[in-house]
């Protein structure tokens, strides 16, 4: 649990206007999905592309293949931003899973060619998802709700407000976004981070 707590703490101390900040990164993806915002994409690209490039160069030992991975990963981020679900994980994690899939396909293509297993067959990160797949997650939230009253006070203000409006007042995430005049993506990521934090609090009491 140590590692997670540290990660959360370090996130909190970061400036809120940078892609390292999960809420901000989620907003950038939301803006790409909603308005094809070039500015939002440039910002994500500036942050993620060099890291992907460094990683892929180490992996493949080949500059060109590394570039292909960066290009393909970021092209999916641009074209498939609407598939990102802020309540299921962070933007960085979503981009990581896309890069993982592309790396897998590059490695297998060199080895076996066609008829071979593709990353999509294993991890449908980029498939158009059915909303009903979120059911498991909803159940998870119900369980956590029973503990909310006890742990709620320990959340950062912004997250606590989101949780209270949604779980105590019964507002939808969209209604919360409207009420607070913040983007829907922000509400979703605040909710997700709050639930993550609550899980940690609950675990640390075990």
């Amino acid at each position: 649990m140590q590692l997670v707590t540290e990660a959360i703490t370090s996130r909190k101390t970061m400036s809120s206007a940078r892609p390292e900040d999960p809420e901000h990164a989620a907003d950038l993806l939301a803006r790409i999905a909603a308005d094809q915002s070039r500015a939002a994409f440039s910002e994500l690209f500036r942050h993620f592309a060099p890291r992907l490039q460094a990683y892929a160069t180490r992996q493949f030992g080949n500059e060109q293949t590394a570039k292909d991975l960066v290009q393909e990963t970021m092209a999916n981020v641009w074209h498939k931003a609407h598939l990102f679900k802020p309540d299921r994980g962070s933007a960085a994690t979503w981009i990581f899973t896309i890069a993982r899939n592309i790396r897998f396909d590059i490695l297998r293509k060199n080895k076996y060619r066609q008829h071979d297993l593709s990353a999509d067959d294993l991890w449908p990160v980029l498939a158009e998802q059915n909303e009903s797949l979120d059911d498991d997650y909803a159940l998870d939230q119900d369980l956590l709700m029973q503990q909310l009253a006890v742990y709620c006070d320990q959340l950062p203000d912004a997250q606590r407000v989101a949780i209270q409006l949604i779980y105590i007042e019964g507002k939808s995430q969209q209604e919360v976004a409207d009420a607070l005049s913040i983007p829907l993506g922000t509400v979703k990521s605040r909710t997700r981070l709050a639930i993550q934090k609550l899980k940690e609090l609950i675990h640390s009491d075990d």
Binding site: R38, S42, F48, P50, A54, A75, F104, L107, H115
Partner: protein, 223 residues
């Protein structure tokens, strides 16, 4: 209640894509069936992405001039093909029974070959992976027994539906069992039949895999 799970290391290698194709499907199918491992997988994804993206670093100097061009090239690129999840082929039919396939297997339905009778009440169908890896469905009717055997390398067996027993335990839906050359066993079914997925583990040697990003104190995290 699932009793037997893949190791933490296997889950990390699954998330990183560093297992063999057959093991990726087998472990992936277990995860489909196991909420416990689904939670672990989410945590591992978060950890690996943290390792990949967490370090502060600047773009290479040569990029700054070209950044707009690179962004332009992506924005003008054609959208990748649209993929959707087709859930029409979720069932296996055998011996007058219908078995529902977990998501990973349903997505790979087209790889499933035809059923052949083995010995006694046992049937086998291959899952064709386009490589020389061996991944099979094994179906045992009730009251069937496999002669005692050991394994070359590792053999992973995942129970899809039903129950089988051996000298040491009982294995039910979702149980993932990894056996190596030191294990000798005689799997058998009793009143119930059993559909399993079985593979010999022949790991690919991705020595510089993503999973190496994860350091040994992950056990702290996945208590």
């Amino acid at each position: 209640m699932i009793k037997f799970h893949p190791s933490e290391q296997q889950l990390v290698e699954y998330v990183a894509g560093d297992l063999s194709a057959a093991m990726l499907i087998t472990v992936g199918t277990h995860i489909d069936m196991c909420p416990h491992c689904q939670g672990h997988v989410q945590d591992i994804e978060e950890q690996l992405s943290q390792r990949l993206f967490g370090d502060p670093m600047a773009a290479p100097a040569s990029w700054s001039a070209n950044l707009d061009m690179m962004v332009d090239a992506i924005i003008k690129s054609p959208a990748p093909a649209h993929r959707s999840l087709d859930d029409s082929d979720n069932y296996l039919f055998l011996e007058g029974k219908r078995f529902e396939l977990p998501a990973t297997l349903a997505r790979n339905y087209h790889r499933i070959g035809s059923w052949h009778k083995m010995l006694g009440k046992m049937w086998r169908a291959p899952v064709n992976l386009g490589s020389d890896e061996v991944l099979n469905f094994i179906y045992m009717g009730s009251g069937a027994q496999v002669p005692e055997h050991t394994h070359k390398g590792h053999e992973a067996t995942l129970v899809i539906n039903g129950v089988f027993v051996d000298e040491t335990d009982e294995y039910r839906d979702g149980d993932f069992v990894l056996l190596d050359g030191s294990h000798k066993h005689t799997p058998q079914t009793q009143q119930e039949d059993c559909l399993t997925l079985a593979t010999l583990d022949a790991p690919l040697h991705f020595t510089s895999g993503l999973s190496r990003l994860l350091n040994p104190f992950s056990s702290l995290f996945f208590k």
